[in-house]
């Protein structure tokens, strides 16, 4: 045992509390972020052992260079039509977000969350999955639904909690759910979807299916125990699952250092669990596509799970409830060294001669009109708090498949109460 006298000569212990590089008022300068050149991060064979690729957890999968050219071993070599589809889905996602955010500000709903700057993560990832693969998203992957051509009106009905909302107005806006869309019901409790995705994938494997699961969480939420539960189960059972950590640098007001991001990469969690790990430029739609495609093929051929860190930036506030100007430097988004995913794919399409400014402007107009038209239609079904909601009885339905006596009784109480309230209103 060490003796007291030896210890007495040591300086006192200090508690380390991480601090982000920039706070409000600071000039953001990201020049210290190491960005490997396109092509530098190698692409192992799908069947390679995860033990032979720890370097990929510290590299950065990139395809698009600063000039907009695609290069390197990860280039998925997509045809121009697919590239344009990805571009349009990202633009539509951004237009949808803009419109719904404004609707919240106009008092039409209670809450909204944008995914601005991170559209490539959900959109390009979804393009690399099969339509019947199952997704377990967090609240910031609306791009999955848009990439799968899900009805905008249906999404808006949910945001408005109106009478056509399939979720009966039960859930907070953006907590979508659609079995048909292969999109698991979103929880407000962070990271719970991670082990659930692993479980779905285990079931698919146990049943000899061919479908795989994919799940997403924020880097902040990857600190939750559920994330680690997912990793250990995925590793032990070599579950056919893709586990995405969307490292957008911020978790409300906390920078990624509070999730361990100062000490190592999020992809590197994979190494400790014995899982393949990839770190990807999340603002490069082609890199996201390529990494997801690689992980999907691996999963589908019984080579087990992959953990993908998408290195990106949350360009706007956390939600309609916060003001990012109070906790981070206002120029971070503009200074972000990996740019904007829509601008980068647009540039690429132009560079390869498959796109131009005019067509882009036209596309922007088209998606704006599409969103506006959908909004008009959705608002006919009502907006939050204006009577056009689900029948009161629906509150008690689906707590269980069959309603037990106490809920039947409570439902009657509620209806009586409602009638009593209406009678008072009439006599006023």
């Amino acid at each position: 045992m060490a003796s007291d006298t030896e210890r007495r000569n040591l300086p006192p212990l200090k508690l380390h509390v991480p601090e982000p590089k920039f706070r409000p008022g600071d000039d953001a300068d990201f020049s210290d972020i190491v960005i490997p050149a396109v092509g530098e991060t190698r692409r192992p064979d799908i069947a390679d052992d995860h033990r032979d690729m720890p370097d990929l957890s510290y590299g950065l999968v990139r395809v698009l260079d600063d000039e907009g050219k695609a290069a390197g071993p990860w280039d998925p070599k997509l045809d121009p039509d697919t590239l344009r589809k990805i571009l349009r889905a990202m633009a539509l996602t951004r237009a949808f977000d803009g419109r719904m955010f404004r609707a919240q500000r106009q008092g039409k709903t209670s809450f909204y969350m944008k995914c601005t700057g991170e559209e490539a993560v959900a959109v390009a990832g979804t393009f690399a999955l099969d339509r019947d693969d199952m997704t377990f998203p967090s609240y910031r992957q609306q791009g999955i639904l848009i990439a799968r051509d899900w009805s905008l009106v249906d999404m808006m009905n949910q945001v408005y909690s109106n009478k056509k909302d399939r979720l009966m107005g039960r859930q907070l806006p953006i907590m979508y759910s659609t079995k048909q869309g292969g999109f698991f019901s979103i929880s407000g409790n962070l990271a719970t979807q991670f082990p659930q995705a692993v479980g779905w994938a285990m079931a698919s494997a146990a049943k000899g299916d061919t479908r795989i699961a994919a799940t997403w969480t924020g880097e902040g939420s990857s600190a939750e125990g559920d994330f680690h539960s997912a990793c250990i189960f995925a590793s032990v059972y070599r579950a056919p699952v893709i586990m995405n950590v969307v490292n957008n640098q911020w978790a409300i007001s906390s920078f990624s250092g509070f999730a361990g991001g100062d000490e190592t990469t999020f992809a590197a969690r994979a190494v400790g669990y014995g899982i393949a790990g990839l770190r990807v430029d999340g603002n490069d739609a082609l890199a996201v596509y390529a990494a997801t495609q690689w992980a999907a093929e691996r999963a589908r051929t019984n080579h087990g799970p992959t953990l993908i860190e998408h290195f990106t930036y949350r360009a706007e506030g956390h939600s309609t409830s916060d003001d990012p100007g109070q906790y981070r430097s206002a120029d971070e988004a503009a200074e972000w060294p990996l740019g904007d995913p829509i601008a980068r794919l647009k540039k690429h399409l132009i560079v390869i001669g498959e796109w131009d400014e005019e067509r882009h402007a036209k596309m922007d107009e088209e998606v704006a009109t599409q969103v506006k038209t959908a909004q008009k239609q959705a608002e006919k079904n009502g907006i939050l708090g204006h009577g056009l909601h689900q029948p009161l009885e629906t509150m008690f339905e689906q707590v269980f498949e069959e309603m037990p006596w106490h809920l039947k009784e409570q439902m009657q109480d509620m209806l009586d109460e409602n009638e009593a309230a209406n009678n008072v209103a009439k006599t006023r």
């Binding site: 859930q171 806006p173 409790n189 809920l407 009593a420």
Partner: protein, 352 residues
């Protein structure tokens, strides 16, 4: 509003957030073992701003942000307490306390008992709870009865800025673990249950006159908010204001008791009141089945049975997840209260 006020010198008008902030400030100033931490608690000062300014004043080792991991937040609080500190962790919403339950239920709550007093966990877990803010099912829950069911944890719920500060200081200074539920619907002003009328700010309420210094409201002491002889109304948190407003509107001579601490409970105050009125209504926003009202009802029945002139009534939330769009049909508001009052005031022959 509290009747027995200590004379503590200067006061400042505060809403409930500011009063809670002031309680932590006072405790941190007096005892450098007190520290606050949680998700977004440090630099930003909490998503509801309850810890605003504390990092600036006391530094990053006493007010800091944490990883998003409620199990870790409560677990490290237990460890820091074992060292001798007095942690005041925040769980951002009560709806998110569940990942931390094991550390609270199996560890903090039993530490004193299992170590025969060698190790203790004087931690105070602050957490906003309750609905009425269109927060949907994961920003609206009232899980207090989960905690009163655990042996070794105290459960405290304030209803005014004045009470919030005095109770929080008492909780922080208490030698045992306390879960301190903050009714977020009334952070900025009391709420009478009429969601369609403008909200009064706390500045219009006398209990916003909060002493600047140290004072405590002892845990386990209820507040008889309104004396009356017709019926005893037991309530806490947001529902104190909804209940008091309903009583005034109906012009009924009810005795309204703000429990303030669910555990330990001020049974003396409850018994004295029910023995006087012979009737009892229990009001809470939480779901009904196995809610704290069930415990209250059992206690009143056991101890006041021969004084009761009518069955005890419960006014509660329904046994469903808190709905988003139908929030106000769910919330136990003025009409639900009136119907319960009418039921309990019926005499044996069925007449009002």
């Amino acid at each position: 509003m509290s009747k027995a006020r200590e004379n503590t010198g200067s006061t400042t008008q505060r809403n409930m957030i500011q009063a809670i902030n002031s309680a932590m400030d006072v405790c941190m100033e007096r005892d450098d073992n007190v520290c606050v931490f949680g998700e977004d608690v440090g630099y930003y000062g909490g998503v509801f701003r309850a810890t605003a300014g504390l990092q600036e004043k006391y530094g990053k080792t006493r007010s800091f942000d944490t990883p998003i991991n409620e199990c870790g937040i409560i677990g490290v609080a237990v460890g820091m307490a074992a060292y001798g500190m007095r942690p005041v962790p925040e769980i951002q919403f009560a709806d998110y306390i569940y990942p931390g339950l094991d550390q609270l239920v199996s560890e903090a709550a039993r530490l004193r008992y299992r170590s025969a007093g060698e190790f203790t966990a004087p931690i105070t877990i602050r957490t906003p709870f309750g609905g009425g803010i269109f927060g949907g099912q994961t920003h609206s829950q009232s899980p207090e009865s989960i905690f009163t069911h655990v042996c070794g944890v105290k459960t405290v719920i304030p209803s005014t800025p004045y009470d919030a500060k005095g109770l929080l200081i008492a909780a922080i200074e208490d030698p045992d673990p306390v879960v301190f539920f903050e009714p977020k619907r009334i952070y900025n002003g009391p709420f009478d249950g009429h969601y369609d009328t403008p909200v009064l700010p706390w500045s219009k309420h006398p209990a916003s006159d909060v002493p600047d210094g140290h004072y405590v409201i002892p845990l386990g002491k209820a507040n008889v908010l309104r004396e009356g002889s017709a019926v005893t109304m037991l309530c806490y948190g947001t529902m104190v204001h909804v209940t008091a407003a309903a009583v005034e509107e109906l012009g009924i001579d009810a005795e309204v008791i703000d429990l303030r601490t669910l555990l330990p409970l001020d049974m003396e105050a409850i018994e004295a009141s029910v023995e006087k009125t012979g009737r009892c209504i229990i009001v809470h926003e939480a779901t009904r089945t196995s809610g704290f009202g069930a415990e209250l009802s059992a206690l009143v029945q056991e101890r006041c049975f021969y004084h009761l002139e009518a069955p005890i009534q419960r006014v509660t939330g329904y046994d469903t997840p808190y709905p988003h769009s139908l929030e106000w049909a769910y919330f136990p508001g003025p009409v639900r209260l009136r119907l319960a009052i009418e039921r309990v005031m019926e005499d044996v022959s069925g007449n009002l």
